[in-house]
């Protein structure tokens, strides 16, 4: 890839910000061509294409930040001056001198992304074929599938990061994302199931993912749910499928382990070195796993992606950090500062977050459960990191009686308290699966993430069913 032509302009702007008194500054820009499609019930209902340009300048003046963004790169000089002005105003008011960024390596790199099938050479018809395969997979031989909605999006971007310490990183990632929602109907009963696939591995990875198979799976689950009932409510032992374990690890443990959340008073504030669960409990965040949705090579502050052991052998080991939170806590950044786009400021975020393998088998977990519930299929969750309450929804589950899977149940929600649940983990299986693919929202920014784990058994959780 050729060196981005903006380099001298970016470097000059950063140098002049430092000359004018800034302690640190960075510039991020992105130039993307995007395509999005919506396919409903066998018909392509939306084809949109467009160009998205964005640039953001962040300035640290003494201990205060100023940030300005827009979509006109020719105004870079003005944006930079405005950002410094805002930072100065902020400093005039709060007099903060305490911000000191962690010391990190200076990186000067063009990250080569090689794609066998460049999105530039993929036609609209190639993309449409993904949806046609999905529709066929979902609807063929399934008359009770009432509707199949599919969405496909891709983006081909030129991304640049530059900072006043001399880092200059360019990359040209290509992103593809597919999702399918199948609705089933029998008389008055209606159910739905969802699946997706997304990665930075290029269009051929999307073809390999087999939209027909993904959609058929979602359709079959939507049909199965027609026979399911709401679970009973109350406290009971639960076995969580990797899809729900991922949700738990992300929502309950991950958010509270973000250093900025901890600073704001999360339930895990001041817990480094403390025991949170049994000694077979490991929780990890690792952006460097290339096929996963939370993959990146350098974060939005130019820090190299790395594996962070949040919980090791049941002990709380590390927060996830940006350079600012790391600086305050006297450690190195874990490379978890991410921004949705150059129009947003980097904040501490997760990437691919998962529970490490244990040594039980799923069969053993079932055998040890007299009365309980097995839950699978993430429907998302939410957490209050301060009081430690969280909830998540499972698409379906099975009641467990005398160690055996019994009747199918649907729309199960569980809630609990982060520390109670960690303490009550009874077993972790050895079948790690990091397959949860989605977007995590925080402070108005959505970034791609994945989550997962093996199966996990918890002694007792509150199940909120209608039955």
């Amino acid at each position: 890839m050729e060196r981005n032509e903006n380099e001298s302009k970016f470097r000059k702007t950063l140098d002049s910000l430092i000359e004018e008194g800034a302690r640190y500054a960075d510039i991020r820009s992105s130039d993307s061509s995007v395509c999005s499609m919506m396919h409903k019930n066998g018909k392509l209902e939306d084809v949109s294409t467009g160009d998205v340009l964005s640039i953001g300048v962040r300035v640290l003046y003494k201990g205060s930040w100023g940030f300005v963004s827009g979509n006109d790169i020719s105004r870079l000089g003005n944006l930079a001056r405005d950002a410094l002005k805002i930072a100065r105003s902020m400093h005039d008011l709060n007099g903060d001198e305490t911000v000191s960024l962690s010391k990190e390596d200076t990186i000067d790199k063009d990250l080569a992304y090689k794609y066998r099938c460049d999105l530039d050479s993929v036609s609209i018809d190639d993309r449409i074929r993904l949806m046609e395969a999905g529709y066929k997979g979902a609807s063929e031989g399934r008359p009770e599938i009432g509707s199949v909605s599919q969405r496909y999006q891709d983006a081909r971007s030129e991304v640049t990061f530059a900072n006043s310490e001399g880092s200059y990183i360019t990359s040209s990632p290509q992103y593809c994302c597919y999702s399918v929602l199948c609705n089933s109907r029998r008389g008055e009963r209606a159910e739905a199931s969802y699946d997706n696939h997304a990665s930075f591995l290029g269009f051929d990875d999307m073809v390999k993912a087999d939209t027909g198979k993904l959609a058929a799976g979602a359709a079959q689950r939507a049909l199965d749910l027609l026979d399911a009932k709401s679970p009973p409510s109350g406290k009971m032992p639960v076995i969580l499928h990797p899809s729900i374990v991922g949700l738990f690890v992300h929502e309950a443990v991950g958010h509270a382990s973000e250093a900025d959340s901890a600073e704001r008073g999360s339930i895990l504030r001041g817990m480094i070195g403390k025991r949170l669960g049994p000694d077979f409990l490991d929780i990890i965040d690792d952006p460097s796993i290339s096929g996963k949705h939370g993959f990146f090579r350098y974060d939005s502050e130019g820090v190299k992606a790395q594996k962070t052991q949040i919980i090791k052998d049941g002990m709380f080991r590390s927060y996830m950090h940006s350079r600012e939170t790391a600086g305050r806590m006297g450690v190195r950044s874990t490379g978890n500062a991410r921004a949705q786009s150059p129009l947003h400021q980097p904040i501490v975020r997760m990437s691919n977050t998962y529970l490490g393998n244990g040594d039980h088998s799923l069969d053993e977990m079932f055998c040890d459960t007299k009365d309980g519930i097995y839950m699978k299929g993430s429907k998302g969750g939410q957490v209050n990191t301060v009081d430690g309450t969280f909830t998540f929804g499972a698409e379906m589950g099975y009641m467990i009686k005398d160690g055996k899977k019994r009747r199918l149940v649907k729309d199960c929600s569980i809630s609990g308290h982060i520390l109670d649940v960690l303490k009550n983990v009874e077993a972790v299986s050895d079948d790690l699966d990091i397959d949860g693919t989605g977007f995590c929202g925080k402070d108005g920014q959505a970034v791609p993430v994945s989550d997962g784990g093996p199966h996990m058994k918890v002694k007792e959780m509150v199940v909120g069913g209608k039955g």
Binding site: K43, L44, E45, D46, V47, S48, T49, G50, D51, V52, L53, S54, W65, G66, F67, V68, S69, G70, N71, D82, I86, S89, M90, L93, N94, D96, I124, S147, S149, N183, A190, E191, A192, S230, S233, G234, D260, R264, G265, L343, G380, G381, Q382, V383, N384, V386, D387, G388, T389, F390, T391, G393, D411, S413, S415, D443, V462, G464, G465, K466
Partner: protein, 436 residues
């Protein structure tokens, strides 16, 4: 720049006489100041916008967009090419019409606010919360002011512009291991109530400390407007969306004219409310905005339509096309008012006597949008005994169905508040199951 866009759009309309074209331009300037750990922390400003072009070819619509208006010719060509692939049926674009005069959309005092002003407001808010109790800390918060301008032009002669301003703020106060959050937004700086954020966030944090479990049981339950908005957004709103109805994804399909709610309940979408957060003269399709009675005395009168869904059903659009320049029009509410003509009361807590009041829930997005079933964690609630707040509650859930829930409505407070799209008072529901 706007004049250049108009001239360029008109030129494209002339050059492409056989292709109906729509141009939607949007520009937003935004100022934000953030609070972290009890003090102003960072501030930002952004100016961004773009233009979306919709083309109709052979009865099908396609869209393309760009951020640089100079690219309009290329964008039109791409929209036409996309329309050739699309099977989104749309025979026509809406025709020229007159638009209502909606008051209170702009406040020049908001338009002139910059990051510096918002930084000052952040400091003021932190000070006010600290003055309630020194042990309170504002863990995070922000002030945001925006000025937006939108314009729609189409081949049928529609050409209209509108602008609006808004200020919003939110804060989370922390008291030990208890937190309280409140958010407020307004189109008028004079009517923007910072003190309500201070009072509500502080009260929830202080009163929420040392919660108790209450076990499983049924009781009269009050839900504040913010909780109603969360539940409505993921259950009732998808059910009245005509696009979802047409695709068989709504339990209200085929129920026009049926009694779906108690007869003392009505629901209206009104984009013409003075200073309404989502008020405006025209929708994303350029259709004139109007008041729509969705449920009147319990009877379902209509679904919400944008132009495309209305064409499909052969009815008139309700003017509920929403969306930005980079996407096709979707269906969404504007200001959705819930009214209950049964028992009203000034002080719902004292009226209930024995029950629960819920201030916040987690997990509303996990509700089933087809059936309206929901199962939520109660994250901030208080047990009511002897007509007053007794103690905070933890580890509880509520589960139910939106239509069953609304069927059990038994009282409404006088605290009508707009949260997002929902304008609602605190509502009370008899015999609500609480799982703990």
């Amino acid at each position: 720049m706007i004049d250049e866009i108009i001239a360029s759009a008109d030129d494209q309309i002339r050059k492409n006489k056989d292709v109906p074209l729509e141009f939607f331009f949007e520009d937003e300037s935004l100022s934000v100041a953030n609070i972290q750990n009890g003090k102003p922390y960072s501030a930002e400003r952004s100016v961004a916008g773009g233009i979306g072009v919709k083309a109709i070819v052979g009865g099908y619509a396609g869209l393309s967009f760009a951020m640089d208006p100079a690219d309009l010719e290329k964008t039109v060509k791409r929209a036409i090419s996309n329309a050739r692939h699309s099977r989104l049926e749309q025979e026509t674009l809406p025709g020229k019409t007159s638009y209502p005069d909606v008051k209170g959309l702009n406040d020049k005092n908001i338009g002139s606010l910059g990051p510096d002003d918002l930084i000052g407001m952040c400091a003021d808010l932190c000070g006010r919360i600290k003055s309630i109790d020194k042990r309170l800390n504002v863990s995070e918060g922000s002030f945001e002011s925006s000025k937006t301008e939108s314009m729609i032009i189409n081949s049928e002669g529609v050409s209209s512009r509108c602008s609006g301003t808004e200020i919003s703020a939110g804060a989370e106060a922390v008291f030990g291991n208890s937190s309280g959050m409140h958010f407020n937004a307004s189109r008028s700086l004079g009517k923007f109530d910072i003190q309500s954020i201070v009072d509500k966030a502080s009260m929830l944090a202080i009163e929420g400390a040392a919660p108790k479990t209450i076990g499983t049981g049924s009781m009269t339950t009050l839900m504040v407007p913010e909780v109603m908005e969360q539940i409505f957004s993921y259950t009732f709103l998808p059910a009245i969306n005509a696009d979802r109805v047409q695709k068989g994804q709504s339990s209200l399909a085929g129920k026009l004219g049926d009694k779906i709610l108690p007869e003392d309940m009505s629901i209206t979408d009104d984009p013409l409310i003075d200073s309404g957060l989502n008020s405006g003269p025209f929708d994303r399709d350029g259709v004139s905005c109007r008041k729509t009675k969705i449920v009147e005395e319990g009877v379902l009168g209509t679904y919400l339509y944008n132009h495309a869904a209305a064409c499909k059903d052969g009815v008139e659009s309700t003017g509920n096309g929403v969306g930005g320049y980079s996407s096709m029009s979707r269906i969404g509410p504007t200001n959705l008012s819930v009214s209950y003509s049964g028992k009203g009361c000034q002080d719902p807590v004292s009226e209930v006597g024995d029950g629960l009041i819920i201030y916040d829930v987690l997990g509303a997005h996990t509700a089933n949008p087809i059936t309206g079933d929901f199962s939520l964690a109660v994250s901030k609630a208080f047990r009511i005994k002897d007509g007053s707040i007794a103690y905070p509650v933890k580890n509880s859930m509520i589960a139910g169905n939106i239509f069953d829930l609304l069927g059990k409505v038994c009282l409404a407070g006088k605290d009508v508040t707009q949260t997002g799209c929902l304008v609602s008072p605190t509502l009370g529901f008899s015999d609500q199951k609480i799982i703990g």
